[in-house]
């Protein structure tokens, strides 16, 4: 058996109301890729934050290379050789790659020396990256490379990666894995957090599965099937949403013709000449790597961003120049990606959040005077129908967990019985059971005759619920194809392939 690098024993951390980790034991060996698996809320983040010195445990202890280890802050963790790539990048878009990396260092060398180092590291690990480029111009995959190189410059003994593939195309994932395997071969241990089971089976040597803060299993992912791991994660057998096969084509509900729009803000993506037809009763899936125009497309459809009237037609009526509420009245509803501060207002109650978008269509006010009882009963209806866990409708949105708020936001739009429903990342950061419920609700809505556009980074989700699939890449939309006829590789190419990735550099 190889040498143990990091050992956790009986690690416990409780927050008011929840026990995030309870008696967690974990051992990571040198030169091993160790998967940490679990649903959202299972305690993965808390555990790695403990290792990285961001959270102080209530009980339990850790040893690193045989010595007691209790980092007071991330600096202490970095000092012993632990590096972490976060799910959300902390980069300044207006600065160059080398400036961004220098900002994270305690004693940065000169910019020129640092740039040389960055080039050297990127060559060695097959992560091509020009140190002088502005981060705002980089793709999500390239930004992740900045974060990885930032870590590799520290020569870490343990590299923690939090959901690294959620923003990558399949091709980019392949390259990332080659890099990680190379690191493993050099003896670096990697703690790999994910809930994508196939990836874990392809990459990892060991897997620790968390559920509700406790370790429920340790397994060798090569030996266990993805379905078995999923059931260990969830604790019960999973039920996939039922999809009816579409027999006849519905009427054309939404037409986008030559939809173009400049980027609404710096480092946004302009929309370029998008043509699309969606029929009632169908779910159109739009995939794409984050930052390729998803937010802008939703803004153009919801009415937040106005375009020329004819660019968007709803049942033949030109609506491109109408404001959001006029579109809602005509039956076009949308749910943007970010539920905290965009799709919902965190500091308002659920009743007020219901009023926020449902006023126009559900008539919750008259002559501008709000009918509060009616707004409340609409909010209650959403809560009941979508199983939102909350004590009352007067609770602030921010007090709800991510999954519950997401169910509320989606439910609020669906209960308005839209004719066309546009949703961006319907299940992002939502646990498996809630995600299944949301997908089912989307399918039910389509079955009831609505046209649905579902934008998601999660290809599995799109494969599961969409009838046709199109990809957004640099603000352009590929022609849609029937989902059933597509392979994962074809989809990867539609998504734009690997952004300037040169596989040739990598010695596998």
């Amino acid at each position: 058996m190889r040498e143990i690098l990091l050992k956790l024993e009986g690690l416990t951390k409780a927050y008011p109301g929840v026990v995030a980790n309870s008696g967690v034991d974990l051992a990571i060996q040198k030169g091993e890729v160790h998967a940490l698996l679990g649903e959202n809320g299972a305690g993965k983040s808390t555990l790695v934050k403990t290792i990285y010195g961001l959270v102080a445990p209530d009980a339990g202890h850790m040893t690193f290379e045989g010595k007691p280890f209790r980092p007071a802050d991330p600096r202490a963790a970095r000092a012993v050789g632990i590096a972490m790539v976060f799910q959300h990048f902390s980069l300044f878009e207006a600065l160059t790659v080398v400036e961004n990396i220098a900002l994270g260092m305690e004693h940065p060398p000169t910019m020129r020396a640092l740039a040389t180092q960055i080039k050297a590291v990127s060559q060695t690990y097959g992560l091509p990256l020009d140190p002088q480029r502005i981060v705002g111009d980089l793709s999500a995959g390239e930004r992740q490379r900045v974060e990885i190189i930032r870590c590799l410059l520290q020569d870490p003994k343990l590299l923690i990666m939090d959901e690294p593939t959620s923003v990558l195309t399949p091709q980019e994932v392949r390259i990332l894995f080659a890099t990680l395997r190379q690191l493993r071969a050099q003896g670096t241990a990697i703690l790999y957090i994910s809930h994508k089971l196939e990836e874990i089976r392809a990459l990892c040597d060991q897997a620790t599965i968390l559920r509700l803060g406790k370790v429920v299993a340790n397994c060798d992912p090569q030996q266990v099937s993805a379905k078995e791991m999923a059931e260990m994660m969830v604790g019960s057998a999973l039920q996939a949403p039922k999809k009816q096969t579409v027999t006849e084509q519905g009427a054309v509900a939404l037409t986008l013709s030559q939809l173009s729009a400049p980027a609404p803000q710096a480092f946004g993506t302009p929309l370029r000449d998008i043509n699309l037809t969606v029929r009632s009763g169908e779910v159109l899936g739009i995939g794409g790597v984050a930052g390729n125009g998803q937010e802008e497309l939703v803004a153009a459809l919801s009415g937040e961003m106005r375009v020329a009237a004819n660019m968007i037609q709803l049942y033949g009526q030109a609506v491109g120049a109408l404001p959001p509420n006029a579109r809602r009245k005509l039956g076009l509803c949308a749910a943007p990606e970010d539920r905290n501060g965009h799709a919902a207002a965190p500091d308002l109650s659920l009743t007020e959040n219901a009023l926020m978008t449902a006023d126009a269509r559900m008539g919750l006010s008259r002559h501008g005077f709000i009918n509060r009882p009616q707004a409340r009963s609409f909010a209650s209806a959403v809560i009941k129908r979508f199983d939102v866990r909350t004590p009352s409708t007067d609770i602030l949105a921010r007090a709800l967990s991510g999954g519950n708020l997401q169910k509320f936001v989606i439910g609020r739009e669906i209960l308005q019985a839209p004719k066309v429903f546009v949703v961006n990342q319907p299940t992002w950061g939502v646990d498996a059971a809630a995600a299944a419920a949301i997908r089912q609700a989307i399918l039910d809505l389509a079955e009831a005759g609505a046209a649905v556009i579902c934008i998601s980074h999660d290809l599995d989700e799109l494969m599961e619920i969409s009838d046709r699939f199109a990809a957004l890449n640099g603000g352009r939309l590929s022609p849609p194809s029937p989902t059933a006829s597509l392979s994962l590789d074809q989809i990867g190419l539609m998504l734009g392939g690997a952004h300037d990735m040169e596989v040739a550099h990598v010695k596998a």
């Binding site: 008011p16 209790r70 919801s302 009415g303 937040e304 404001p323 959001p324 509420n325 809602r328 949308a334 943007p336 970010d338 501060g341 965009h342 799709a343 919902a344 207002a345 965190p346 500091d347 308002l348 007020e352 009023l355 926020m356 978008t357 006023d359 126009a360 006010s365 501008g368 005077f369 709000i370 509060r372 609770i395 602030l396 921010r398 007090a399």
Partner: protein
Amino acid sequence: MLRLERRRQPSNLWRWGAPMAAVVLTMVLGALLFWMIGRDPFLAIKTIFWDPVFGEFAFYYRPELIKKAAPLIMIAIGLSFGFRAGIWNIGAEGQYIIGAICGASVALAFYPMAARWMIFPLMIMAGILGGVVWAMIPALLRVYFKTNEILVSLMLVYVAEVLVKAFAVGLLRNPEGRGFPGSRNLTQYPSAANLELFAGTGIHWGVITAVLSVGLAYVVITRHRFGFDVQLAGQSPRAAAFAGVNTNWLVIGCMGLSGGLSGLAGLFEVAGPSGQILGSFPAFYGFTAIIVAFLGRLHPVGILLAGLLMALTYIGGDAAQSAMNLPSAAIKVFQGMLLFSLLSVDVLTNYRVRFTWAKGD
């Protein structure tokens, strides 16, 4: 060790308890301050807070208190809409001055005609219009050129201050004033005077308008879509855009509202308590109202109470200055303490304090 922990829900108890606690804290700290400069702390606090309302000379102070509170409340009510929406009109003082100039100009244009039924309403309209126009400058500049309304509205205060000085010695100067600066006294012009409606109460048209504005604001904020949009835009601008709130109209609406109410306050002041346009037109209501708005939690009822309280510290402060020979700087520090105390106690609304003991490794 003390540690602050964010509450999941803001505490309702503290939302309303904090202003009370802040007042008590101010009294304690103020007493300490007065004691340190060698005055009787209890007497000072009593002189400021008790005597003007219940003391021997309350019959004189009470009307003064009401007259002082009315413009503060009226302006603060207008500001509270913008402040809720994240639209920062810092220039209420300027709009107040311009409202006074416009209202007084209308009155003086008709002098000495006797037609109160026409002149007084026209003055009111002119006062409102003047304030609105002055507020539209920063509003439109923000809408069309994305300028910062804080800076523009603030700078326009200085312009207004120069204008009032110019009018006092120029266009509006009293022709029978033997060359002294200052306009005719409007309180001596029955068609334009804003006098006490009930003798000895201090209640003039401005007071009535202030009370009405509190009631209207309450209804709009709790019941009307405009109040809801204002709140939404302030808390989550992106959510507001998604909900369909038109930010530009909101800027114009909120700035117009606060400008109009400030101008109106200026008109009532110049036609009543102040009586004339002077270079030193009774100032600082526009700035003090900002404090009143925050002290009152941007809530109409809160603003009503805060306006009265703030007026009390002014009236009581003056009384303490003359009766106890307190330096005016001490009174100003004391008034400042009120805002500081509120801001610090306010933390408890969204955070709870935890006592923790550092654990050894």
